[in-house]
């Protein structure tokens, strides 16, 4: 008997399920699985089909047949139930299971989505979860998304955003934006799918508090129609925000930029801004523009090449030999590394500076640029230094003169390691010369720049925490009058105090061995400021003291005997101390001496601190429980510029505060001082959040050396 016979039997039978449930009846009929499936589908209800899986002979059917039977069930809940049942589907292959799940209705799919164990068993990862959610109806998608805990656990952030972007209604997307803690750029990405009208409203309201970069990104997603209208109608808004139209248009894709160019006459902006838009078009767009009917101002802008280099991306590649007038108005795109200029190109640069007074002057460090004004004043100063060099001088004399000149001109940035420190500005070459402040690698660059001009071979070396110079193949005199040649170390920044105050420079032409000794603090710690074995192994030349004095005498810095001018200050300071004045009087006299010796003491703060520590406040008769020289800022100063102060806790007079004003130290009461000034956060962090006068004085233990401590082995701090 065949399938047709079985069909006839089923048609006549009242209890059709009983026939399927009786194996002995079924095996009498010779039908294949497809025929059997057809009969099951036609004659059984969903409940009956489900009940088939309780029968042993159906359980033994191959997985593909069992899966096919499940697919005949109209009730998707039943289907889901069977798929989830390990007794039914445990041997189904992953691919088939997933196909079956995908064919389920929304309710069944959501049931499966929330069955973590099931998903894990069939390796339904985040991608699959995403696909399932995406296949749900709008309403159900939103339901799942509203369960933020589920979504964030089972989807990547970008997948959640993709699903939100696919929602049809903007109001639903907005609702989702409230539920999830997206970053600004992620919100902007979703908003890009809104209509231009909605986007314009969002931009103008800026309820998400976007910074300019995100606003620009959103505006650049407008259609060209909307963009042209927006640029025309919202110039005041853009100006207030500091958003330049060319920053928007440069973000447009190729097609949009081409459309913009084709409608360029509709761009209602000033000529300079329109030229900026043209300069910043993509190269592929520029090359495709038909310039035959364009005004010359547009043509010159289109023909300008811009850099694709990471460091100078978008800057115009300037041709100093061309017509410099064409760069007029394009200052913000004009960057020239003046360190790489040949001497004969310098006049052209100066000419360009006149045309583009807001252009940027770069240096090799490239951390920040100098302005035209800074470049001009810096170069003038360098010129004056070079003119002060006696052409008869040896190389080493020239080095000494240049090092000394820089020490007189530049100070270490007094707001180093504070929250207001300008990382780039303290390193820009001409900015350092103009402002008079810099940090080590900037100052090393300055000195190298000038030494290069007089033909001294020099290399900037870094230890990681500090930068300085290695003079290469330089000739230096020896004690007995010989000349030796080789490499030696010059640290212009560690010499700043010496040159400012007329001390003997300790970091001038030192060997690696010697200069490393300077890295050892009083407590024995090695700060490794000059450590670089690889670069400095060759620096074996060490200038002896006598030769050093002779050199500085010959250039007019040291006296005839080779003594440096600070001797005068030190003598006078000692004489004040020898008078043994009362402590307050004594310190005031030291301060007056300082102001007389170095009128600019308040502006070269680091150097002055060194001198106060090492000379003026370092005397036998000047005793204090604690003395701190540091910096604060005036509370009313928005820029928080550093001001030097001295705090002293005298044994008799108690706590005193002195603030460095332009011409003198001025005493203030503690209340006045605290009312007017505050310490930098970063300085206080070093003292557990306390101001120096809030830190208890360290008590001095007087050791009686005649009494035994009872210890056999000495410990740190034990006097012996």
């Amino acid at each position: 008997m065949n399938a047709l016979d079985l069909k006839n039997l089923l048609e006549d039978a009242e209890d059709k399920f009983a026939i399927f449930s009786d194996r002995n009846t079924l095996i009498k009929y010779n039908c294949n699985f497809a025929e059997l499936l057809s009969l099951i589908s036609d004659f059984l209800t969903d409940e009956q089909k489900k009940a088939l899986f309780d029968l042993e002979h159906f359980k033994r059917f191959p997985p593909s047949i069992r899966a096919a039977i499940i697919q005949t069930i109209n009730n998707h809940e039943y289907r889901a139930e069977l798929i989830e049942n390990p007794d039914v589907a445990s041997d189904f292959n992953e691919y088939n299971v997933i196909k079956m799940v995908e064919s389920l209705d929304d309710n069944a799919k959501i049931r499966i989505l929330y069955n973590q164990e099931f998903r894990k068993k069939y390796n339904m990862g985040k991608n699959k979860v995403r696909q399932l959610i995406a296949s749900l109806s709008e309403v159900n998608k939103q339901e799942v998304l509203r369960d933020t805990e589920f979504s964030q656990e089972n989807l990547e952030n970008w997948q959640i955003r993709e699903i939100i972007k696919e929602l049809k209604e903007e109001k639903d997307k907005l609702e989702m934006l409230e539920l999830y803690d997206f970053k600004d750029w992620q919100i902007e990405e979703i908003l890009e799918t809104f209509t231009d009208e909605s986007k314009i409203a969002i931009v103008l309201e800026n309820k998400y508090g976007f910074k300019n970069a995100d606003l620009i990104s959103l505006i650049s997603s407008f259609s060209i129609d909307s963009l042209l209208v927006f640029l025309k109608d919202n110039q005041e808004y853009l100006e207030k925000k500091g958003i330049k139209p060319h920053k928007i248009t440069r973000r447009l894709n190729k097609e949009k930029q081409e459309e913009l160019v084709s409608r360029f006459e509709e761009v209602d902006l000033e000529l300079n801004e329109k030229r900026k838009i043209l300069v910043t078009l993509r190269d592929e767009v520029k090359t495709s523009i038909d310039t035959s009917c364009m005004p010359t101002e547009y043509i010159s802008a289109i023909k300008m090449q811009t850099s694709t280099d990471m460091r100078s991306y978008g800057n115009i590649i300037v041709d100093l030999n061309g017509d410099l007038e064409m760069y007029s108005g394009l200052d913000e795109f004009v960057f020239i590394n003046a360190m790489e200029l040949l001497e004969e190109d310098k006049p052209k640069l100066l000419k360009l500076c006149e045309i583009c007074s807001e252009m940027s002057i770069e240096d090799n460090l490239g951390l920040a640029s100098s302005t035209v004004e800074e470049y001009r004043s810096g170069e003038d100063w360098i010129k004056s230094v070079l003119e002060g060099i006696n052409p008869e001088w040896s190389s080493i004399q020239k080095v000494a003169f240049i090092d000394y000149s820089i020490g007189k001109k530049v100070s270490y940035t007094p707001d180093f390691d504070t929250e207001v420190f300008d990382v780039g500005g303290a390193r820009a070459l001409w900015k350092i010369l103009h402002s008079g402040y810099g940090v080590c690698n900037g100052i090393a660059q300055v000195e190298k720049y000038i030494l290069d001009k007089v033909g001294i071979e020099v290399e900037i070396v870094s230890s990681g925490s500090h930068s300085f110079l290695k003079l290469k193949n330089i000739q230096i005199p020896t004690e007995n009058g010989d000349i030796i040649q080789g490499d030696t170390i010059l640290d212009p920044t560690w010499n700043l105090t010496a040159h400012r105050y007329g001390c003997k420079p300790e970091n001038f032409c030192r060997s690696y061995e010697e200069i490393r000794k300077h890295d050892i603090r009083d407590d024995g710690a090695d700060v490794r400021c000059h450590k670089n074995d690889e670069a400095l192994a060759s620096a074996t030349l060490d200038l002896d003291e006598q030769s050093l004095r002779r050199i500085f005498t010959s250039i007019g810095v040291a006296g005839k005997e080779g003594n440096f001018p600070i001797g005068d200050l030190m003598d006078k300071s000692m004489m004040i101390d020898a008078e043994n004045f009362p402590e307050e009087e004594s310190i005031k006299r030291q301060f007056s001496l300082l102001a007389e010796y170095c009128p600019e003491f308040a502006t070269c703060q680091n150097s002055t601190m060194s001198i106060l520590q090492g000379v003026l406040l370092n005397h036998e008769n000047l005793n204090f429980n604690k003395c701190v020289v540091n910096r604060v800022y005036a509370r009313e100063d928005e820029d928080k510029r550093p001001r030097m102060y001295v705090y002293v806790d005298f044994p008799n007079a108690g706590k005193k505060f002195y603030i460095a004003e332009k011409e003198a130290f001025v005493e203030l009461s503690q209340m006045e001082f605290e009312a007017k000034f505050e310490c930098y956060e970063m300085d206080m962090e070093k003292q557990d959040g306390r101001r120096p006068w809030e830190v208890p004085n360290r008590t001095q233990k007087v050791e009686d050396l005649t009494r035994s401590s009872g210890k056999i082995i000495a410990e740190e701090g034990d006097g012996r």
Binding site: Y412, S465, W494, M609, G614, E620, V628, Q700, D704, L705
Partner: protein, 74 residues
């Protein structure tokens, strides 16, 4: 006569040696006392209590050596 006198002088010298002018011995107790005092005094240490100088505190700056390089000379 002279011979006899010499002999007598000879024997006198022998006996006299024993009772020749003796240097007075220094009193032993006093000598001992001096030596003891000298010894004790040699052990004493003069304690001069010196006030330890506090150092001016400044920030530490690797860039220009503030707080690190201390040598200032002419």
């Amino acid at each position: 006569m002279d011979f006899l006198e010499n002999v007598v002088q000879f024997f006198k010298r022998i006996f006299k040696k024993q009772s020749s002018i003796k240097m007075l011995d220094a009193p032993i107790e006093i000598i001992k006392e001096d030596k003891k005092d000298n010894f004790i005094n040699s052990l004493k240490v003069n304690i001069v209590k010196k006030h330890k100088k506090n150092k001016v505190e400044t920030p530490i700056c690797f860039g220009d050596g503030l707080g690190i390089q201390t040598k200032i000379s002419y």
